[in-house]
Symmetry: C2
Subunit: 205 residues, 2 copies
DNA sequence: AGAAACAATGAATGCTAATTCACATTGTAC
DNA sequence: GTACAATGTGAATTAGCATTCATTGTTTCT
């Protein structure tokens, strides 16, 4: 009789899948998408290359799953931090602080999402753009709220949101690539001040 | 007797090389580095694939030359605009305005430099990082000058420079990828205001 | 015009890496 | 413990390109 759907078997399957994902994250963080081979991932996960295909249909499915996982981790983290605040400025600050803290903690994640960006035309890149757009959307919503409250000047909040996200992105990328600024969390303070002034925060609080 | 070094021949050689470069720029703007084949470039340049190798030693040499050309165009453009100003804020503004105007005019250039970024480990990427670092360095110099003049707060100018460049980069990338903001030059005004406030420009001028 | 130098061609070569597959090993049920 | 289901294996297959090369076409020089 078939024994496929039993708990024990399923769990084992899922646990091995997770191991492969973990190994893959490490490899992708050090090499670009094109630059990492299934063979290398398989070696790191201590399986044969063929075994990989029992768990994932192909390389694209793997990277898509990794990026989606990271997307969820990131959004969960941001939403969790934001929940503590109601003020627009505070929410913006909480969002970026959540990002930075997560990236410091999970450097591989940051490397994959921000540095190992391959060219267009694959699932990986499309997902990455989704993540970025979601972050920009969230930022814009906060800015629109602040604008409605007359707490920031009447300017294009979309452009402002891009500027906000872009400034963080650049600092994080430089930190990943060149190790500068050394202390990302310290840089965060400067960066936050820069952006709050940039938005035109009056002296409310 | 050899006829290699005569003017006519050399000129023809150089002119064909330029044609190939032009075709290559167009192809690279639409596909990533890995995603474009020499065959496609050759077709666009109306030559056989083998002919390509009479003009360039390999694919890497081609992209390196393209990126270097663009680097020079960009720096020339920036330096030219900056020459009209002595004030730090004005110089910063001139730099970014020069960038934006060039990218609007030469959209393919922007696409190659900003969107078709392949993963690491090739000459293309290294050059791109050089360009970015050069821009950041220029920005930091202006900021240091302003700081010495006590015209901006005493904060980490490196982080500020990253934020400045990053905000522009993000807006330009979004414009290239999604076509938003529609009018990049209009967005420039918002962006510049954002960044001048961000730097902490007092009300000098 | 004829010979030598050079340029152009595109099919052949070679390499790399994803994916498959025939076979081997392990796990489950009875 | 045996039969069958499922997993694991890694060598073989395949496909896509970059690069080369033998051949053909073109230009220059005398």
């Amino acid at each position: 009789m078939a024994y496929r759907q039993t708990n024990k078997v399923m769990e084992k399957f899922q646990s091995k899948k997770k191991e492969i994902l973990k190994a893959a994250r490490e490899v992708f963080a050090e090499n670009s998408y094109q630059g990492t081979s299934i063979k290398t991932i398989a070696q790191k996960a201590k399986i044969a290359t063929g075994t990989f295909y029992l768990y994932f249909t192909n390389k694209d499915a793997l990277i898509t799953m990794i990026v989606e996982e990271m997307f969820h981790e990131l959004l969960k983290c941001i939403k969790h931090e934001r929940a503590n605040f109601t003020d627009g400025f505070d929410k913006l600050q909480a969002s970026m602080e959540a990002c930075i803290k997560l990236f410091v903690k999970e450097k591989n994640m940051a490397k994959i999402l921000l540095v190992q960006v391959p060219g267009v035309n694959n699932a990986f890149n499309a997902k990455l753009i989704d993540i970025e757009n979601e972050l920009i959307k969230l930022t814009k919503e906060d800015l629109d709220e602040l604008k409605k409250q007359d707490r920031i000047p009447d300017e294009d909040t979309f452009v402002t949101a891009l500027a906000f996200v872009g400034s963080f992105r650049q600092v994080i990328i430089n930190w990943l690539r060149e190790g500068k600024p050394e202390d990302l969390e310290a840089a965060f303070a400067t960066l936050m001040k820069y952006n709050l002034r940039g938005m035109g925060k009056g002296d409310g609080s």
